[in-house]
């Protein structure tokens, strides 16, 4: 073993760190206020208009044979009992019939007007933050240097997947850069999920639909756009879950420190070999 078993690298620049935490705040508020808005009509459809008798997804309340109410989710005709969380949940000791429970929505009581007010303010903040990030990323070389995925990267995807599954994370020289799965996940969020989510959100605006009729048409209609908006939101939730689990498993303090101060510890190969 060498004496110097680790060294610092400066991993995240200030604009990336600031942008990351602004994203955390914006996306949390947008998700929760979005669930509040969804609760005003907890059903999703496909097409231009709502086919009330044929929703893709519907959250509601149903009484059983004994007259006892249950929270139910109907997904493409399949019924799931979700009492306690979806459809029927407890808020301040009271059983209430609502789509998503009070702890998941902003504000917590049913209050559509306030949910919209939060949502539309933080949507602007998210877009501004994203624009600053993209400008910075393009001009400072962050996108090209850190996220551009090479053919060589892609050829390692199978191995990287196998390593991740065994919870073996890159070390030494390899850990100085994002691995291929990281790159693809971040690129997917930045250039696919977020743009689609934003476009689908804009397509729900009747005023914008007048100016840009291709916008709802892109999704197959306004109700499809609303469904896509919802799916993208949950794709981001899924991404965040995996992201947080990876942060926890691959060295929580090192990761957190690097996203706050910028500095990340690299354990040198020698140290790695000793394991």
């Amino acid at each position: 073993m060498k004496s110097a078993a680790w060294h610092w690298i400066y991993r995240h620049s200030l604009p990336v760190r600031a942008g990351h935490w602004i994203n955390v705040i914006c996306l949390t508020i947008l998700l929760m206020s979005g669930l509040q808005i969804f609760n005003a009509h907890p059903a999703l459809y496909w097409g231009g208009a709502s086919q009330f008798t044929n929703p893709i997804l519907e959250i509601g309340t149903q009484a059983d044979a004994a007259g006892q109410p249950h929270g139910v989710v109907s997904l493409m005709g399949h019924i799931f009992d979700t009492t306690g969380v979806l459809g029927l949940s407890t808020d301040q000791g009271q059983q209430v019939a609502r789509g998503f429970p009070a702890w998941a929505t902003l504000p917590s009581p049913q209050w559509l007007a306030m949910g919209r007010t939060w949502h539309f303010f933080f949507a602007w903040l998210l877009v501004l933050n994203g624009a600053v990030y993209l400008l910075y990323g393009a001009f400072a070389g962050h996108l090209r240097r850190d996220l551009l995925t090479s053919g060589r990267d892609l050829r390692h995807i199978g191995r990287s997947l196998w390593e991740h599954l065994r919870l073996h994370f890159p070390r030494g020289k390899e850990a100085e850069r994002y691995n291929v799965l990281q790159k693809l996940a971040y690129l997917g969020v930045i250039f696919v999920i977020l743009p689609v989510l934003i476009l689908a959100g804009l397509a729900m605006s009747p005023r914008l639909d007048a100016g840009f009729p291709w916008l709802p048409a892109l999704f197959g209609g306004r109700q499809s756009a609303r469904t896509v908006h919802f799916i993208c939101a949950f794709a981001l939730v899924l991404f965040t879950l995996v992201h947080v689990v990876m942060v926890l498993l691959s060295g929580v303090w090192n990761n957190l420190r690097s996203m706050i101060t910028g500095y990340y510890v690299i354990r040198d190969e020698a140290d790695h070999d000793a394991h």
Partner: protein
Amino acid sequence: MMRTEKMRRRSLLTRLAAGVAALPLAGCDRLSQTEWFTRLLGSAESVDEAVQGTIAGRWAMAPEFTEADLSPQFKSNGTQNPQDPAYQQLAQNGFADWRLAVTGLVEHPASLSLSDLRALPSRTQITRHDCVEGWSCIGKWKGARLSSLLDQVKPKPEAKYLVFYCADVMEQSLEGEVKYYESMGLADAYHPQTILAYEMNDTVLPIPYGAPLRLRNERQLGYKMAKYIMRIDLVDNFASVAGGKGGYWEDRGYAWYGGI
């Protein structure tokens, strides 16, 4: 003994974690009750209106659909059947005695019957109705062009908004009953798709959808399209309109700009 101690500690930790996690939400709930913060959040509304108006263009037409797209079930929201005795009486003889009053900042205040309105240039359109709750329905509307009515009554130069006073009672307040009211900007009133509809899906406008007359303002949300219209008042501000925000729902926290 050890075990229960550990369990007690764990449940305490769980509750602590849940409490810490709930703190930001409780904080946001408290912020939602404050005047300054909701005003800050609400400042995005004027940005939305300015940006959307600029990029989408003032005269852009809302998408129109075909007969095949008509919703088999068009949801009727808000009031389904106004219980006001005066309204019920009007409904009983097919609104023959109903009159639309046009008042306020106009050169020629008017009182129009349904046949007067039917005599005005009309427009028929199949459009998508978007509710603030999130659902949409497609319906066919025929009505008098609001621009033609305005040409007749001639708004004064200082007129900025049209306020629609309706027949449906929304709630009882200390000052008496509160009937629905809404408003729109004068520029939007001249848009070719802005009509005072008296027909829906080729039949006389049914009561659940606002008989005898409702507004169609296709580039905004459903709550902007007043039903059961009794009077249109042209004003230069909303100071004299109930809570001062220009509409029943606006006075209850919804944005005046309903384009989003």
